[in-house]
């Protein structure tokens, strides 16, 4: 498996195990590519947040780095006008569905959205779109944490932790289209679900949707 290959990212020559996904190769080498839904163990990757676009020589259009396996001689650029345009739109779209009150948010300063904004010089407010934020109640029924669906970016990391790491199965994606969200089975409160409050989900939440109390 671990045959080594060499590729170039932003002009830097990098060796990596053949077949490893480009996103992880870049991140492991301190080259930042925006991402929210990436979990190394999920195979095939979800590829749902659409933030990790890069340019790869030989591809006409930007491609997502999370599901592209690196190959010998691959030449990658993490920035280009086309990449920046897609990332900007995806980012703004996510913000349009996200309750944007950073000062009131438990994750203020440790939020992935803020990190992306800083790295890519994007604004943390809506410039082109109107807000679509839904009127959903916060579920603070667990003793140790709370879930605010209006801050959720649907990255699915919590669902993965719950299913595959904790092995509980308390939460999952429900509904379709614009109504897609993370809920318990049957839409009960977390306290009424099989949730054991292990807190794994809270630890992986990149934004302020899941947060420990206090």
């Amino acid at each position: 498996m671990s045959k080594k290959i060499t590729l170039t990212i932003d002009g830097r020559e990098i060796t990596a195990p053949e077949g490893e996904k480009l996103l992880w190769v870049a991140l492991d080498n301190d080259i930042y590519i925006p991402n929210l839904c990436a979990v190394k163990e999920i195979d095939p990757p979800q590829a749902s947040c659409r933030l990790c676009f890069v340019e790869v020589e030989g591809y006409r259009e930007p491609v997502t780095a999370c599901n592209l396996a690196v190959t010998e001689g691959m030449v990658v650029k993490t920035r280009s006008p086309a990449v920046d345009r897609l990332v900007k739109t995806a980012f703004e779209l996510l913000l349009s569905d996200h309750r944007l009150k950073c000062s009131e948010c438990p994750k203020n300063r440790s939020c992935e959205l803020q990190k992306i904004a800083k790295e890519r010089r994007l604004k943390l407010r809506l410039t082109r779109f109107r807000p679509l934020v839904k009127d959903l109640p916060i579920d603070d029924s667990p003793d140790t944490f709370a879930f605010d669906p209006t801050r959720c970016v649907l990255c699915g990391r919590c669902v993965w932790e719950d299913h595959e790491v904790a092995g509980v199965g308390a939460i999952g994606f429900s509904r379709r289209g614009i109504d897609r969200r993370v809920t318990t089975f049957g839409d009960t409160s977390l306290a009424d679900s099989p949730c054991i409050e292990c807190g794994f989900c809270v630890e992986v939440c990149p934004v302020g949707a899941l947060s420990f109390k206090e």
Partner: protein
């Protein structure tokens, strides 16, 4: 050992032919009983035929057949009486059925006045090829649809059905693969990916367990060609599936058919049973060492489940949600095994290609897109229905010659082609040849073959909004661009069609978003969703502008931008029909006896306009609504 299959087949064929020949010695009535026929009342017609035949003690058979493609004239019946040319009758009702039995079957009068077309060349009555539609139509995969009994495998065998299977069993799988590759058969489910290339990628996988799946999800609103084929000639699809399995080295096959198609599911199940009995399916097919089984899976119905990876995921019992590629399904598909997913129509071509050769196939159509294209022609078109034309036929020929143009002396405006995420092409694009690449270049796509004709009464902004709303609702919601982007686009379009958008910059945002959704979405639903908007922006820009700057809908279709008005100079004081037709009592009689509309109460249901007698045509629509002031001011003087 290989030759054994052809010998076995010859025996089966001889028995079938004998049976069908015997059948033809007596009169036969074929009634179109596909879903389209049934919807038009074919069941009653069939019973009327049966009853009348019985009451006269005739030795005539009534057989259910599928769809011939002339859906506008359903119910359809074909009568074949020895000594006469077989004739097809359209718009048959119980009355006509009785009459045909008495006049034609009992006596010898074929009732030409009711006949639509003859099925064999003769001196008296025209055949399909004598009509303009027949000149352009070339039936490859629809050839037998509507003419054979889908419930009886012998009808198909009599038409050389399964001969291709018997033949390929004497070849090496690689030879079959080469033939399909050399035919350049492109997938008919939308994207036009070469089937041979896909099969080869799957065949190359070392994994011994491989699957082949027939995609019969057909979620496009208004499209029904796959259903029609499954109901009318199931064995052609099954034979194609078996041959592909042989070429790929697949061990098991599936039909994925949406649960809303119960008749198609039943027909396929019966057909599979019969194919098994004849030895075309199961262990040692036709005496060879090739084993293959096919099962039926009922789809859950969501539009996105037609997307290959979502389809596979829903078959595994998971949510029908697309996943990113790579890996391709041919590497890791159903249950993680190499899998080929092809459309119903794609499989249909396979037996024909194997029987007649790749060169025969390539002699029809264009070099880049050989073969034929199957369309459901609907909308503002004279002859709606299922048509099959050679690739390369122009849209103009399809609409004006095959479909016989736009009814009611209305003017053509656009053709929406490729399903809900296809594009809208204007008059100036009508000479575009129908093939995968030309359509894509024009901003539309072949899609799965839905074709909606639009006329002067259709508002292109409204149409774009309509299709976008469909895909927005059908988005699975997994990825950012499609889930949120289509919603924002829809909001902009809602504002434009409701007169709330006054800023032309919204059109730039609409286009930017459309382009980004196209480039950034995870699956083809999102990647193609903006097509109706992008093509209408490209070809019908003026209509958008007028909506925004003048608050006017030129087609008078956007409800919020029109008002209904009764022109005093046209209204007859003596007539009252409009008053009665209005559900909200918005119409009142003025002091001078003329009718007028209370705009506060009017819900714009269009009833008064429809019911106002044609000699007056006094109800008119005004856009923008401000025109009302002018009119009323004028008439008061």
């Amino acid at each position: 050992m290989g030759q054994a299959s052809t010998e076995l087949y010859e025996k089966i064929k001889a028995a079938a032919t004998e049976k069908i020949t015997a059948l033809k010695q007596k009169p036969v009535v074929l009634v179109g009983m596909a879903t389209c026929g049934k919807a038009a009342g074919a069941e009653k017609v069939r019973e009327a035929f049966k009853k009348e035949i019985e009451s006269h003690g005739l030795e005539a058979q009534v057989i259910d057949v599928g769809c011939m493609g002339h859906c506008y004239a359903e119910p359809l019946a074909i009568i074949a009486k020895p000594g006469h040319t077989p004739l097809c009758y359209g718009y048959v009702d119980e009355e006509l059925a009785k009459r045909l039995v008495i006049d034609f079957l009992v006596n010898d009068d074929p009732c030409y006045e009711f006949a639509m077309v003859a099925l064999e060349t003769n001196d008296v009555f025209p055949t399909f090829s004598d009509f303009p539609r027949g000149v352009y139509e070339q039936k490859m995969i629809l050839e037998h649809c509507g003419f054979i009994d889908p419930e009886d495998i012998d009808h198909y065998i009599d038409k050389d059905g399964y001969a291709a299977l018997a033949k390929i069993l004497t070849l090496e799988p690689e030879e079959v693969l080469e033939e399909v590759k050399s035919a350049n058969l492109r997938g008919r489910g939308g994207a036009g990916f070469p089937a041979g290339t896909k099969w080869e990628a799957c065949r190359k996988q070392k994994e011994p367990v491989k699957y082949v799946i027939c995609n019969g999800d057909e979620g496009d609103p208004g499209a029904f060609m796959d259903r029609s084929i499954l109901e009318s000639n199931p064995h052609q699809v099954i034979e194609g599936l078996i041959i592909s399995a042989y070429a790929i080295g697949a061990t098991e096959g599936y039909f994925y058919i949406r649960a809303e198609y119960p008749q198609a599911i039943r027909t396929i199940r019966t057909a599979l049973e019969q194919a098994r009995e004849k030895g075309f399916l199961g262990k040692s097919i036709l005496g060879s060492d090739f084993d293959f089984e096919i099962k039926v899976f009922q789809g859950s119905g969501a539009f996105v489940c037609g997307e290959g990876s979502a389809l596979v995921s829903s078959m595994e019992g998971k949510m029908g949600i697309p996943r990113p590629r790579p890996p391709r399904l041919t590497t890791s598909g159903f249950r993680g095994k190499p899998t080929v997913v092809n459309n119903v129509k794609t499989f249909c071509y396979v037996p024909l290609i194997m029987k007649n050769g790749a060169d025969w196939f390539k002699s029809t159509g264009t070099p880049g897109s050989p073969g034929t294209a199957v369309f459901t022609l609907v909308g503002k078109i004279t002859n709606s229905g299922l048509v099959e034309v050679p690739m390369g036929t122009t849209l103009r020929q399809l609409i004006y010659d095959v479909g016989e143009g736009i009814p009611d002396e209305k003017e053509f405006k656009a053709v929406q082609i490729g399903g809900p995420s296809g594009g809208c092409l204007p008059e100036s694009a009508l000479d575009v040849p129908i093939d995968f690449d030309s359509l894509e270049e024009a901003g539309a796509m072949m899609g799965s073959g839905g074709l909606v004709v639009l006329n002067e009464d259709d508002c292109m902004v409204g149409i774009a909004r309509y299709f976008l709303e469909f895909v927005q609702k059908e988005s699975c919601g997994k990825c950012t661009f499609c889930r949120l982007g289509t919603k924002h686009m829809l909001e902009i379009l809602n504002d434009i069609t409701q007169g709330k958008e006054k800023d032309l910059a919204s059109l730039d945002l609409l286009r930017e978003l459309a382009e980004d959704i196209k480039a950034g979405s995870l699956c083809n639903l999102g990647k193609t969703a903006p097509n109706p908007v992008l093509t209408t922006l490209r070809y019908f820009w003026d209509e958008y502008i007028v909506h925004i700057t003048e608050g006017r809908c030129p087609a008078l279709m956007c409800k919020d931008l029109i008002v209904y008005y009764i022109a005093p100079e046209l209204c007859s004081k003596l007539c009252n029909v409009c008053v009665g037709s209005c559900p909200t009592e918005a119409i009142y009689t003025r002091e001078d006896g003329l009718k007028a509309i209370d705009q506060e109460k009017c819900v714009k249901c269009d009833n008064c306009l429809k019911t106002c007698p044609p000699q007056y045509n006094a109800v008119i629509k005004l856009s923008p609504p401000e025109m009302l002031k002018e009119k009323e001011g004028g008439s008061a003087k």
